[in-house]
């Protein structure tokens, strides 16, 4: 079988335990998403052979990697800040584990031909990551691991490189594991997303599944679902602090549930103050492409992301109608 498999992989440090982790990555991109300290980097170290698991096996294309040193695994690893060799030029870095003609090919693909004669200190953060990626790909790995390669870049460069990575990964035919704490990078780049919490995989699924059908409050919150309420099932919806959020459910009336609503799924209507939910604007924050509006529903507070046009017409104290496009129940 091709691809990367982790079976029952466990690693204990003082005060921290990773796993047991079971994951299978075919020729696809698995984005591992989690907060710092959740064990993402440790997971990559175990696959790359930079740390030994206490238990479990790692298999790549059918062969067990356990006990093999890092140089013997065919696993390429791109580090957070590139880890370029500072005493070598960009060209020498890329050629470190590759032939010269391959260097030129990959330099063309990653658009770094003009940078090849420079040394790492003379490269920008984004350029460094391009060269680091080129160096890893030039070694022709059988699996590619990336450890938050975009996290130290400025937003515009990060977005551009992220979009390019999306295309590049599509052209690769090896399993890719992309570790990040950024939900957007995970859902843009991952064919599937694994959410990691305190060393355990909390949920694995397509980006849509993880975003729209989170299986736990942690996954919901970490993937950007800010409105999470303890609620009780009533007729035609769930009740939160005396306010009924309309939702269809098969759960029995009176059952306790957790209701999740993404801010982008809340619509505010200044004119429709008589529709279902009504509230008072508490705060209006300009986030550039949209407004973030906090509405007090007379008990629960609701965070909404609304278009600029809607947001401009709102001010603290205004009465607004709110409708929820999607209420997800846990």
């Amino acid at each position: 079988m091709t691809g990367l498999r982790l079976d029952g992989v466990t690693k204990r440090y003082a005060g921290f335990e990773l796993g047991p982790v079971d994951l299978a990555v075919a020729d696809e991109v698995l984005a591992v998403l989690g907060p710092s300290g959740c064990g993402k980097t440790t997971l990559l170290s175990l696959v790359a052979g930079l740390a030994r698991p206490d238990a479990g096996t790692v298999t790549l294309d059918g062969r067990a990697l356990d006990g093999r040193p890092p140089e013997d695994r065919g696993v390429g690893l791109v580090f957070q800040d590139g880890a370029l060799f500072p005493h070598l030029t960009a060209r020498e870095n890329v050629a470190y584990a590759a032939t010269e003609d391959r260097v030129d090919d990959i330099a063309a693909t990653l658009e770094i031909r003009d940078l090849l004669d420079r040394r790492p200190p003379a490269l920008s953060g984004g350029e460094r990551q391009r060269v680091a990626l080129a160096r890893t790909l030039a070694a022709d790995p059988a699996a590619l691991l990336l450890d938050e390669p975009l996290s130290s870049l400025d937003a515009p460069i990060r977005r551009r490189l992220r979009d390019e990575l999306h295309d590049l990964f599509g052209a690769l035919d090896v399993p890719v594991v992309y570790v990040t704490h950024d939900q957007r990078s995970a859902t843009v780049l991952g064919d599937r997303v694994a959410v990691l919490r305190d060393g355990a995989v909390e949920q694995v699924g397509t980006p849509d599944a993880v975003l729209e059908r989170p299986e736990s409050e942690f996954v919901a919150r970490f993937t950007g679902c800010e409105n999470v309420f303890e609620a009780t099932v009533v007729e035609r919806g769930v009740r939160v602090d005396g306010v009924v959020l309309p939702v269809e459910t098969t759960r029995p009336i009176g059952a306790g549930v957790t209701a999740c609503v993404r801010p982008s799924r809340v619509r505010l209507d200044p004119a429709g103050a008589d529709a279902g939910l009504v509230g008072t604007v508490r705060r209006r924050l300009n986030e550039g492409d949209d407004y973030r509006v906090v509405v007090d529903l007379g008990g629960p507070e609701l965070v909404a992301t609304v278009p600029l046009r809607t947001g401009r017409g709102l001010a603290p104290g205004d009465r607004v109608g709110a409708s929820l496009d999607d209420v997800h129940l846990l």
Partner: protein, 268 residues
């Protein structure tokens, strides 16, 4: 009252920074003046003439040869130990480091005594070596052993710091690019630690050139330059000691030059 406080505000405060320099300057003078005096005491002609003297040439040859050998020995065995100390993940490193530093704090004559209990002519090892025709005392081998004991810790301690200065992630990167430990050390770790290692090697060489105490105990013959200085001073007086002393001062200054240019001076 207000006049008084205004007066105080504009009064000259004692300038402590200048005073610090003045005090330190006295110490500095104490370092530099004797060196200058040494060069003035020995007329250049006399020094040049005595440099051709057979005993001086022999002492210089012995010193340079022995110091080179002991530096090579110290580097060959010291670099692996330094690398291990820098990368090992055990609590034993502290104890090992203490053992490495011991020769640095031990009085050199005591070092000589300690060594004689192992390589002296009446010991198991020393006796066997002497029988085999390689006496470990009163020989070039003895000089090298004494110098290695006293000087090699400089290589270990300085190179350890240099290795620690190399980001482990770079070694991890090299390994995950398919290069083994040895290739990684050769192509990544050693070049990056190079200036620090060179500093350690330079310090060890300088220390070996100046080694006197332990060398005296192990090998009065063949005479190294420091031993020759002492012999000349005792038998012929101070004037006879000048030329070799000047040679050693020049070697020390050259070592400093290396530290301040190609190597990374650990004290800067």
């Amino acid at each position: 009252m207000s006049t008084h406080s205004t007066w105080r505000r504009y009064a000259r405060r004692p300038d402590w920074f200048t005073l610090a320099l003045a005090l330190g300057g006295l110490l500095l003078l104490y370092y530099v003046a004797p060196l200058a005096s040494l060069f003035l005491s020995a007329p250049p002609g006399a020094v040049a003439a005595s440099l051709g003297d057979a005993t001086v040439v022999d002492a210089a040859t012995t010193s340079i040869l022995a110091a080179t050998l002991s530096t090579l020995l110290g580097t060959a065995f010291g670099l692996p130990l330094a690398y291990w100390l820098a990368r090992a993940d055990t609590r034993w490193t502290d104890a090992v480091l203490a053992a490495v530093v011991l020769p640095l704090v031990l009085p050199p004559t005591v070092g000589g005594v300690v060594l004689l209990t192992v390589v002296g002519p009446n010991t198991l090892l020393g006796g066997a070596a002497a029988t085999a025709g390689v006496p470990l005392t009163r020989s070039l081998a003895g000089v090298v052993l004494a110098q290695t004991f006293v000087a090699s810790p400089f290589v270990v301690v300085t190179a350890k710091a240099a290795f620690e200065g190399v980001d482990r992630t770079l070694e991890h990167a090299s390994r995950s690019l398919g290069k083994g430990r040895l290739t990684t050390a050769r192509r990544v770790t050693l070049p990056l630690a190079g200036p620090g290692i060179l500093a350690g090697v330079t310090l060890a060489f300088a220390r070996a050139m100046g080694e006197f105490g332990a060398t005296m105990m192990l090998a009065y013959y063949p005479r190294t330059m420091p031993v020759q200085i002492w012999v000349s001073f005792i038998s012929l007086g101070l004037d006879a000691a000048y030329p070799v002393a000047i040679v050693l001062v020049v070697v020390s200054v050259l070592a400093l030059l290396v530290l301040d240019t190609v190597a990374s001076n650990p004290w800067r």
